[in-house]
């Protein structure tokens, strides 16, 4: 077993990892920037070490500083959390080259799954349905035009080397496609030094459904699905497990396909396989695999009873997976809402500040993963996630009632948060019916703006 774990992250996930390590009897080292000296993770860890200035490039993204902190504190493992270096293949390799354990897959697995074309090829060969599109990069305009005509419109043109929405073009017709293709290629060349493109059919009204998997490099299991269709600017705001939209037979097929892909790549660690799902056709399509623990992992923990962060540490330590697939039972319904330091009444403007009074909800089936404490000064340099309110109950309607009750207990004075947004969502008929898709929330926010503005906090 790992003896001393260095946490190369911050915020609520650092707290979550420290808790799992403590339960396993592992000592913890919390790295921190100059702006995070007073953070909750720093207060909770056995040892702490300053790795640089507030700017992330100089601290949490600084591989050399993190490796040197591990050497100095004699840590034998590094947990990357999510974001920052979690899916940086070079970091995973550098940690192993330094003789340490990386809590996550090796660089090669991160590279394969992080490369859209390679991941799609891996999915296809494992028998996982993929969004109709080019099977790989396209450099020849004539070939692109033929492929576009075959898969149908609208079509998304993406940079093979792209990310973060850059280099994406949407074509509604063949004519439009042929004029946008050279533009997209030039933009990709300028932005990424690689003009390679690939194209994909746009699935209009779809849900975002993802499957949690765990593998030990030899054997793998799935822990059922999460639905994260409520998104604002491609950021998830409300997640639940299971999805209320999947018939049981489709659930089995979807989770089975995720498991097949996990096994096909001999995956080691915790991962998530993301899909788009169409209600009408009951078709699902692989989008990508995330090779890290995800923000919304607690909803899966609530419905399966599996402690995912603890399991990924055990797997990294070299233990075989402790579960058979038949051990994983789906029970009840869980919902997580993200409490961000953003003001929903003012177009989600960020709201750093100092936490005055703080009341954390409790009671049955209620969990609040956070890095807040009374008097904590929220630094402006990092993302706005303050905490995740997670509830579990026997059924989805009961979980929503419990969420409303828990939200009413939550009090974070001194800053504006997204709590009113979630209170309003809980009351919405569409949300209560589970009748939504990935483009549902943004128009809803526009039409509900006056209500959000009227909500005092």
């Amino acid at each position: 077993m790992i003896k001393k774990l260095l946490i190369a992250n911050r915020g609520e996930i650092a707290v979550r990892i420290i808790r799992a390590a403590k339960e396993l009897g592992i000592k913890t080292v919390q790295v921190h920037s100059a702006a995070d000296v007073e953070s909750l993770a720093v207060k909770m860890a056995d040892e702490t070490i300053n790795i640089g200035p507030p700017h992330t490039a100089k601290s949490y993204l600084n591989i050399e500083a993190i490796l040197s902190a591990a050497r100095e504190t004699r840590a034998d493992a590094i947990h990357p959390g999510y974001g920052f270096l979690a899916e940086n293949a070079g970091f995973s390799d550098a940690v192993r080259d330094a003789g340490l354990i990386f809590v996550g897959p090796n660089g090669a697995a991160i590279r394969t799954m992080g490369d859209k074309v390679a991941a799609r090829a891996a999915a296809k060969s494992a028998g996982v349905p993929v969004v109709p599109g080019s099977d790989g990069r396209i450099d020849d305009p004539a070939e692109a035009a033929r492929t576009a005509a075959r898969i149908g419109f609208p079509i998304m043109i993406k940079a093979a080397a792209g990310g973060g929405g850059r280099g994406i073009r949407i074509a509604e017709t063949q004519v439009e496609f042929e004029s946008l293709m050279p533009q997209a290629s030039a933009e990709a060349k300028a932005a990424f030094g690689d003009g390679g493109l690939y194209i994909e059919k746009i699935i209009g009204r779809a849900r975002h459904i993802e499957v949690q998997v765990l593998g030990d490099g030899d054997r793998a299991i799935h822990c059922f699905e999460r639905e994260c269709s409520l998104q604002r600017r491609r950021q998830k705001v409300w997640e639940e497990a299971p999805s209320s939209a999947l018939p049981q037979v489709i659930r089995e097929r979807l989770c089975g396909s995720a498991l097949a892909l996990t096994q096909a790549v001999n995956y080691k660690g915790a991962g998530t396989i993301e899909y788009l799902y169409e209600d009408d056709s009951q078709d699902f399509y692989f989008i990508e695999m995330n090779t890290r623990i995800q923000v919304e992992h607690p909803v899966t923990e609530m419905i399966t009873g599996v402690d995912l962060v603890r399991e990924m540490i055990r797997i990294a330590s070299g233990e075989p997976l402790r579960f058979q697939q038949s051990d994983i039972k789906l029970k009840g319904h869980a919902i997580e809402v993200r409490i961000n330091a953003e003001d929903p009444a003012r177009n989600f403007a960020p709201f750093p500040g100092t936490v005055a009074a703080l009341n954390i909800p409790g009671g049955p089936g209620t969990r609040f993963d956070t890095m807040l404490y009374q008097g904590y000064q929220i630094p402006p340099f990092y993302d706005s996630l303050l905490g995740k309110l997670i509830v579990w109950d026997e059924t989805r309607p009961a979980a929503i009632s419990r969420l409303q009750r828990a939200l009413s207990e939550l009090r974070i004075d001194g800053v504006k948060t997204t709590k009113p947004l979630h209170q309003l969502l809980c009351e919405d008929e569409g949300v209560r019916a589970g009748d939504f898709h990935t483009r549902w929330l943004e128009p809803w926010l526009e039409s509900s703006a006056h209500k959000l503005e009227a909500m005092k906090q």
């Binding site: 702006a35 953003e342 403007a349 960020p350 750093p352 990092y382």
Partner: protein, 78 residues
């Protein structure tokens, strides 16, 4: 008379629109009301820092990528 332009927000100050782009303004440049001299990143969202009095930039008081507090002086304009 020199005037100081204060940061409207706490966060990270940037003097360029992107890492591979040139500086918005240099010391010695003439600026007009509304000109952008930098960005403040607050919780991953970016806000323009605009000049409130026209004049000539004497000196930058905060460096590129420097953490700043709300109300901290960023630039001196004469």
């Amino acid at each position: 008379m020199t005037k100081q332009l204060l940061s409207p927000l706490p966060g990270t100050f940037y003097r360029r629109p992107a890492p591979d782009k040139p500086l918005y303004k240099n010391e010695g440049d003439t600026v007009a009301v509304g000109d952008v001299i930098g960005l403040i990143e607050v919780m991953k969202s970016f806000h323009d820092v605009k000049v409130e009095v026209s004049g000539k930039i004497v000196k930058f008081l905060a460096d590129n990528e420097e953490p700043v507090m709300a109300g901290q002086a960023l630039v001196e304009i004469a």
